[in-house]
């Protein structure tokens, strides 16, 4: 049951994007993995949120995908027990997969969902490939052509990446979506439901025309 089909997932107030979708790449693949998955998901969410928070300027990326791929990689890598060196390689491989834009959201296209699934898939692929000894870029975030300089020019704060790492888990500040649609629309839906309640409408409204 891929999470990106469910459409009703968690989101975060301060970093537009849905970090939890790619972070659940392995959930349910095998009950053998299930016990470890809580820890791995917490790690994946933390990684995605940290990169999103460090990306201080909205440059139009679909963060769920372009940033979520790193969270997916961390979760998958934790699940299959990568060594630190292998995990670094996995992140480097994931960087080669980092993609996804929000033009498809403006245009109402199905690639919005594909991007989220692609990030989850790439996370698993990156972890498994790294386990075989395959290599990726090493200076993934701070390098000359690293993620921050290349994807977030003039719009990042690298200090956020490691601040309180291991002590503060950024996934704890996530919101749960009450409605299966874009988070920026939820305040309007809350207000509409409140208006309906105040008018004491207790059955489906019908048109007056």
């Amino acid at each position: 049951m891929p999470a990106w089909v469910m459409r009703w997932i968690s989101t975060t107030r301060w970093t537009p994007g849905v970090p939890s979708i790619p972070a659940f790449p392995c959930w349910g693949r095998s009950s053998r993995y299930a016990i470890a998955s809580g820890v791995s998901v917490a790690l994946g969410l933390d990684v995605s949120c940290r990169i999103a928070l460090a990306s201080t300027l909205d440059r139009g990326w679909h963060r769920t995908a372009a940033i979520g791929v790193f969270g997916a990689t961390a979760a998958a890598g934790k699940l299959i027990g990568l060594t630190p060196e292998q995990m670094l390689a996995a992140f480097g491989i994931a960087y080669s997969h980092a993609a996804g834009n929000r033009q498809c959201i403006l245009d109402g296209a199905l690639t919005k969902r594909m991007q989220a699934g692609q990030a989850a898939s790439a996370g698993v692929f990156s972890a498994v490939l790294a386990q075989t000894g395959f290599t990726g870029a090493r200076n993934i975030f701070n390098g000359r052509f690293g993620f921050l300089e290349l994807y977030q020019p003039n719009g990042y704060d690298a200090s956020v990446l490691l601040r309180d790492l291991g002590a503060a888990f950024r996934g704890e500040a996530l919101s749960y979506k009450p409605y299966p649609c874009g988070r920026p629309l939820h305040a309007a839906i809350d207000a509409a439901l409140a208006a309906r309640a105040r008018l004491k409408i207790d059955r489906p409204m019908t048109s007056s025309r």
Binding site: R13, A34, G108, Y179, P180, P184, A188, I189, A191, T206
Partner: protein, 156 residues
């Protein structure tokens, strides 16, 4: 029904043609404010079936008649909704931070409702009986010996 918003927020929703009032795909509906506000007003809930209700005549009729108003003085992202009834009744609600955040957490009942909606709409829907068992297991998650009970329940 009137939605008053800041100029940018107004333009995003009311300056983009008919797709925000009459979306033709679910992915459009998920970002269509007039359609979603009409859905909430007509049905009193916004779940998967409601967002999928692209051809719902009652919703579309109301969505077509929602007026959007831009106000220069409004902070970015703020909005209010006014519902004027034909019998003279009227109510205005100012939107605030949406529910679901750590500051405004969903209740266990709201989470369970969401969970059931998702599970019933899954590629392999779970039965109501399975869902009851699953929710009960999640309720005592801390006491489960391991996660296999959950995974078995998820398998339906």
């Amino acid at each position: 029904v009137t939605i008053e918003a800041d100029p940018a927020g107004h333009s995003d929703q009311f300056g983009r043609g008919p797709v925000k009032r009459r979306p033709t795909q679910v992915v459009e509906a998920q970002f269509a404010q007039p359609f979603l506000v009409a859905t909430a007003l007509v049905h009193g809930k916004v779940g998967i079936a409601e967002v999928d209700g692209l051809g719902d005549a009652s919703v579309l009729s109301l969505s077509d008649r929602i007026a959007g108003v831009a106000r220069d003085h409004r902070p970015k992202g703020s909005l209010s909704i006014t519902v004027q009834r034909t019998d003279g009744g009227s109510v205005t609600v100012e939107a605030s931070d949406p529910i679901g955040s750590p500051e405004k957490p969903l209740s266990n009942a709201q989470l369970a409702t969401k969970f059931r909606d998702c599970a019933r709409n899954a590629v392999q829907p779970l039965s109501d009986a399975s869902l009851d068992g699953l929710l009960a297991a999640i309720g005592r998650l801390e006491a489960l010996p391991d996660a296999r009970e959950l995974m078995t329940a998820f398998a339906g």
